[in-house]
């Protein structure tokens, strides 16, 4: 966990007072909605179909048990008893009243949580690997650099009114769990040939109506130069990014239109002017931030304790362990992913009761720490393997032990037309139906790793472009239709999926997905050839034929 200093605490509390005054003036009529809109957006407050939606930042997806309990309190006191974890490792509350928002923010500020820059044309919540600091083989904990970026970008005067929103993601592992290639700036921490640690910088990735995979702009930037290099990129974007057309305003469009070589040249020229200035990070600053992260005092434990050996006889436990328990960098410990995708449930939702119970379990079994992943699941990052059987029973009791992590029913979905004012079609009922169709764990395991992503409109909050199967809701003559893409992926080999054919109506979506999965099972070369690899090998045509032959 990162411990905020006095400056952070003061900033958060001052922000609450400022927003309280803004809300008061809005409700009295002193501020019009036009004047107030930008102010509320800068505090994560949207207006959705039924109510205001309040998006709370969870920097790099790390939460303490105390913070999770406070989120549960906000859900219960100010909302309808649940929250929705998002693909930016944030949490959203869907039913909050504007008049009560300052109190909710004040309650969150007590535990160091805020909603700054969870909306608006500024840098958004810096995301990272939800296994940061505990993943085996990691170069170093990427959250240290995420935190440096968080501090640098928070209320940055030059970058508070960018042409459009701006998103960073950082990974320090060979396997990318942070989807860095579909971010405005993606940072891959690695070592160069001299053994120095630094970043490959990718730029211009993004989804939305014009998806692009990020391009490598510089293979190695030393940590001490990270902020100056990032600033050079953002200055070029701030200067040349389009402000005349919201659909062409993201940096990905600028990089595409200029070309990566020309864009890189502009960045280089800017960087040479500032790289040795105030943004140069000296080791002491980095160490100061590093020192504010606290790590558990791990015990020396056996890899295969008796408790685990005995529990292996229970097939239900084994099904969960094989699916949801992952290797940890410390012997005797494990990372446990908690699926927020129960059969028939809305993806990413957790009730206040679940949050409270999980906070207690985190205290008992994970040194009080919880992580949020962009796949809309949670994780306990420091679980002793001897505790896995008893933890599993406790998680099962609160509905957080569905063994479907990374399987076909572990669906990423945006709120869709049930909540969102931008949506064209519903996402959640499609996801719910699919989880019912693929509820059988044996079948799901037979299918293997398969990511389905659903977006209710072209803004792509459900990241449909990079789903192994992507589902995009569109409107045709007032009816909900869905375009299906296959072959997308968000990892280190990120690709945008390919459309397989005409959109299908709401009632046929689940049947189409079943057809695609059945085609895959028939076409795969081996049982361990993943869906996405079969699509890569064969292309979309065999799947297209299967889906549209009888439609």
């Amino acid at each position: 966990m990162y411990a905020y200093d006095e400056l952070d605490r003061t900033l958060i509390h001052e922000r609450v007072s400022e927003f309280r005054d803004q809300v008061k003036r809005r409700l009295s009529g002193e501020l019009t909605e036009d004047e107030f809109k930008m102010l509320r957006l800068q505090n994560g407050v949207y207006l959705q179909l039924h109510a205001y939606m309040f998006r709370v930042a969870i920097p790099y997806g790390t939460l303490s048990s105390r913070q999770l309990r406070q989120l549960a309190h906000v859900a219960r006191r100010y909302d309808r008893g649940y929250g929705h974890f998002t693909t930016r490792q944030n949490i959203q509350f869907n039913w909050i009243k504007l008049a009560e928002l300052p109190d909710a923010l004040a309650d969150l500020a007590e535990v160091g949580i805020h909603a700054m820059q969870t909306s608006g044309n500024n840098t958004r919540n810096v995301t990272s690997d939800q296994w940061a600091g505990v993943a085996p083989g990691e170069i170093e904990d990427p959250r240290i650099w995420s935190e440096i970026l968080r501090q640098y970008t928070t209320l940055h005067p030059e970058f508070s009114f960018l042409p459009r929103k701006f998103k960073f993601a950082i990974t320090a592992s060979a396997h990318d769990r942070a989807a860095i290639k579909v971010h405005d700036i993606g940072l891959r921490l690695h070592r160069n040939e001299q053994g120095e640690t630094g970043f490959e910088v990718l730029v211009g990735g993004g989804l939305g109506r014009t998806p692009f995979i990020g391009k490598s702009i510089r293979p190695f930037v030393h940590g001490r130069d990270l902020l100056s290099y990032v600033e050079a990129i953002m200055r070029v974007y701030n200067q040349y990014g389009r402000r005349d057309n919201i659909y062409k305003a993201r940096i990905k469009i600028l990089v595409h239109e200029l070309g990566i070589e020309r864009f890189a040249q502009e960045v280089e020229e800017e960087w040479q002017q500032i790289r040795d200035g105030a943004l140069k990070l000296d080791d002491a600053v980095v160490e100061e931030i590093r020192s504010r992260f606290t790590y558990p005092a791990y015990e020396k434990l056996a890899h295969m304790p008796d408790e685990l050996r005995k529990a292996a006889h229970d097939p239900h436990f084994e099904a969960w362990r094989r699916n949801s328990v992952f290797p940890h960098k410390v012997t005797g410990y494990a990372i446990v992913t908690l699926s927020l995708k129960p059969v028939g449930g809305p993806p990413g939702d957790a009730t206040a009761d679940q949050m409270d119970a999980l906070a207690d379990l985190a205290d008992k079994y994970s040194f009080g720490e919880i992580r949020v992943g962009h796949e809309q699941n949670l994780a306990l990052p420091h679980v002793a393997r001897r505790d896995l059987p008893v933890l599993w029973k406790a998680l099962d009791k609160i509905g957080l032990a569905t063994p479907n992590v990374n399987l076909v029913s572990d669906i990423i979905a945006c709120p869709g037309l049930d909540y969102c004012s931008l949506a064209n079609a519903r996402s959640i009922p499609i996801a719910q139906e699919l989880t019912r169709r693929f509820a059988n764990h044996d079948t799901a395991n037979l299918i293997g790793r398969l990511h389905i992503n659903i977006s209710g409109c072209i803004n792509a909050c459900g990241h449909h472009h990079v789903g192994h199967i992507g589902i995009l809701g569109v409107e045709k003559n007032g009816e909900e239709f869905y375009q299906i893409t296959i072959g997308g992926r968000a990892d280190e080999n990120a690709e945008v999926g390919t459309l397989i054919g005409p959109a299908v109506p709401y009632a046929e979506v689940a049947d189409v997905i079943e057809d695609i999965v059945e085609a895959y099972l028939a076409l795969r070369a081996r049982p361990d050839e993943l869906f996405v690899d079969t699509v890569k090998r064969l292309g979309v045509e065999p799947f297209r034929e299967r889906v549209y032959a009888t439609r």
Binding site: A51, Y82, L417
Partner: protein, 105 residues
Amino acid sequence: MTSPLEQKKIKITGPSVVTANRTWDGIVVYRTVAQGWSAELADAAIVRTSDDARTLLAESVADDVGAVGAYIAPVEVEDGGEIRPGNLREQIRSAGVTIGLPVQA
């Protein structure tokens, strides 16, 4: 259901209402004949011409403290006078989400 939030040209082809979200709590409201806001669609003022729609919208937008994001939405009026939402988006706004909430009220 294309978002109506950026309505520019106002041209209606059937009975319509003006809807918005109440400022202090965000709930869905409809403009009434009495120039107020109601949470009940049944209370909504119905307009049938583009000119009347423009007038009702202008008056609604002027009440910036009462409600935000006002726009014109289609409705169906039954023979008995009952008003129904004219598309899925408005059905959902009127009747609520189409899914069970994780916590029942």
